[in-house]
Amino acid sequence: MKVLLTEMRRGEAGKVALLSGVAGVWYLLSADAATSDWIGWWNQASIKVQVFGVIVMGSLMSAAAAWTAGRARRTRADAWSDTTPRGGWAQAVLLWAAAWLWSLLVYVAMAAAAFQRTAAVSEVTAPVWSPLVLGAAMTGLQIAAGVCAGTLLPSRITAPAMGVLWYLVFVLFAFLPGVSLARLFPAIDEHWDTTFQPHTGRLLMGALWCGAAALALLALPALVRRASLSPGPLVAVPTVLAVAAGGALLTFRAPVSEPFWAVRAEQPAEPACVTEGRVRACLWPDNRHLLPQAREAARAVDRAVGPLPGFRHDFRQTGLRLVGPDSAELPVYQPVLDSGTMTEAMLSATLPSRPEGCAPHVLPETDGFPDAFLVEAVVNSRAKRPTPYYGDRFAKALERVLAAPAADQDRWLSTAAGAVGACRPVPVPPR
């Protein structure tokens, strides 16, 4: 333990870890909650820490480990250390453990920063650990590769080469998403909103692979270098585990277009819902913090189309089961939304979608734009939301509908909504 602490204090890994930690914590603390895609979602917070830990910190720590591991050869200390009864494997494990413990400390600080920010937004406390565990284990594998490379090739360029190599590996696999081999070098850079939950089994299997492969890899220099004592039969344990876990990862199959490391979350027993007039909006329980915005949006929609048949009045966040033809999917792309954005999302969803394969119908009055555009513009105007500008003729057509008597306007909107949903042309706007 004392030797390990000394190595942690005197080795180069500590400085690199602290540098990565400062960068990581700053990156997480300086993110703008209003535009962030993770602050407020536990899944995403965990993913962010994991991906920064692996791609940035892991690559740097691998380089630092390579540098430290080349030290014995550079200083010629290997001339005597290779003649000691502590074999090359144990020596490599010491360097690895010192660097890895540093990266774990920094990793914990980054996770704390990310979780603290998420806790400040979210109204549920449900930290997600398994991607963090995989990230920590992957960092261990990266550091082990650094130790291995630094011991076998103690050149001054080995360290920077290791850092760059890891980065290139992740870039390469990012461009080849379907390649199974990428699962053995996990850096999960995906968007898991509340409809997903981590596939704990696979994540832990990945962590097992990384840990076992790291320990097996650390034995390699001692097998290659003749002077140092070779590893004992114990090396078979991590090797067998690595082969088994790695093989399992390569064998697992995920449905096409589904993420490998996550699964669809089960339907919640009680979604978080609000009702305003005839409009009801339901969110995943993890998005309870968005209920005030959802309520305000529901009120605006109710004001605009509440009493009108043909429109949809029940909104379910993406992933929640729809409850009938009056039910619409409500996409929520980020954990922090203002009520205006939520209202726009709800207004977009209130008009039934055209059936698949249905070509849009064009109204001559709207200067050639699809008729559904005019319906949407009318709905937005009634909800006092801005509408896009499609030209003067379109604006005139919109004004004409809005100037029509309320009863005529309501009748036209209801009929139009039904027509859009049934793939029929929208009737001529009221005059």
């Binding site: 004392k2 030797v3 000394t6 190595e7 005197r10 030290r71 014995a72 200083t75 010629r76 200390a77 290997d78 001339a79 005597w80 250390s81 290779d82 003649t83 000691t84 009864p85 502590r86 074999g87 020596q91 003749r226 002077a227 004592l229 070779s230 004992g232």
Partner: protein
């Protein structure tokens, strides 16, 4: 300084025996059927550069195995991982170019060496203190290795080599690069070590042999050309008066051995 023997085997038995050892580096024969025995006390390996001294030390340190012949250390032939490990626990090595980690303090570095040499955890702190005391570096225990002078570094090198109380200590040209005062101090230290362990010291400094060593092996072109006491080596020279045992007398004896074997010195 208390003197305690690190050897546990009967002192009359050789600590290390090399029988017919041959080592080749590609086409170069570094050792050619070398026979030698090393007993408790200090033994010098004398010879010019390239004679095979360092190669013989590497056999004794188990860093490599001979291509032919056998090496027995501490009463056992060194075979298999367990055998090598067991033997290494009782060997200390100080190579010619002593590598160290400059950012470690002396105490940390010797503690690291104690870990490498598998000194039991409970005894480690005491053994480190003992080793630092032997080399008189206690006062500098908390100084960074990178801040030590050449002589102090060599002492730290000895400390790392003896922290496991080895029965066999291998020193490869330990006094090279030291100034005269440091060299005298270092010889005293090596003599003290020789009272505890079998010390094998490669050197080409005749004065080292005269001052420190009980026995001498002369290696020339990979072959053992002389084995005996320092006095017997001195007697190899025709000019020897039979009493002098100093650097000049050793050198004369050594040159006589070289000349007799027709090897350029």
């Amino acid at each position: 300084m208390s003197v305690e023997s690190y050897s546990t085997a009967a002192d009359s038995a050789p600590t290390a025996t090399v029988e017919g050892a041959t080592v080749r580096y590609r086409t170069v024969v570094a050792l050619d059927g070398v026979h030698a025995q090393f007993h408790p006390g200090t033994t010098a390996l004398l010879g010019p550069n390239g004679a095979g001294k360092t190669t013989l030390l590497s056999l004794l340190s188990t860093a490599r195995q001979p291509d032919q012949g056998t090496v027995s250390l501490l009463g056992a032939s060194v075979r298999g991982r367990a055998g090598v490990r067991q033997v290494r626990e009782r060997i200390g090595v100080l190579p010619q170019s002593f590598g160290y980690y400059p950012r470690y303090t002396v105490r940390e570095f010797v503690t690291y060496a104690a870990w490498l040499r598998r000194v039991p955890r409970a005894e480690r702190a005491e053994r480190v203190r003992e080793a630092l005391s032997l080399v008189e570096l206690e006062r500098y225990a908390d100084r960074r290795m990178g801040a030590l002078s050449g002589g102090m570094l060599r002492r730290a090198g000895i400390a790392q080599a003896v922290v496991n109380r080895p029965a066999l200590v291998l020193l490869d040209e330990p006094t090279v690069g030291l100034d005269p005062a440091q060299r005298i101090g270092f010889r005293t230290l090596i003599r003290a070590l020789g009272e505890r362990s079998a010390v094998v010291m490669s050197t080409h400094l005749a004065e080292d042999v005269a001052q420190v060593c009980d026995r001498v092996h002369v290696l020339l072109e990979g072959r053992m050309r002389f084995t005996g006491t320092a006095a017997e080596l001195c007697a190899q020279a025709d000019s020897h008066d039979g009493t002098a045992l100093d650097g000049s007398a050793v050198e004369a004896g050594y040159l006589a051995v070289v000349e007799r074997n027709g090897v350029p010195a």
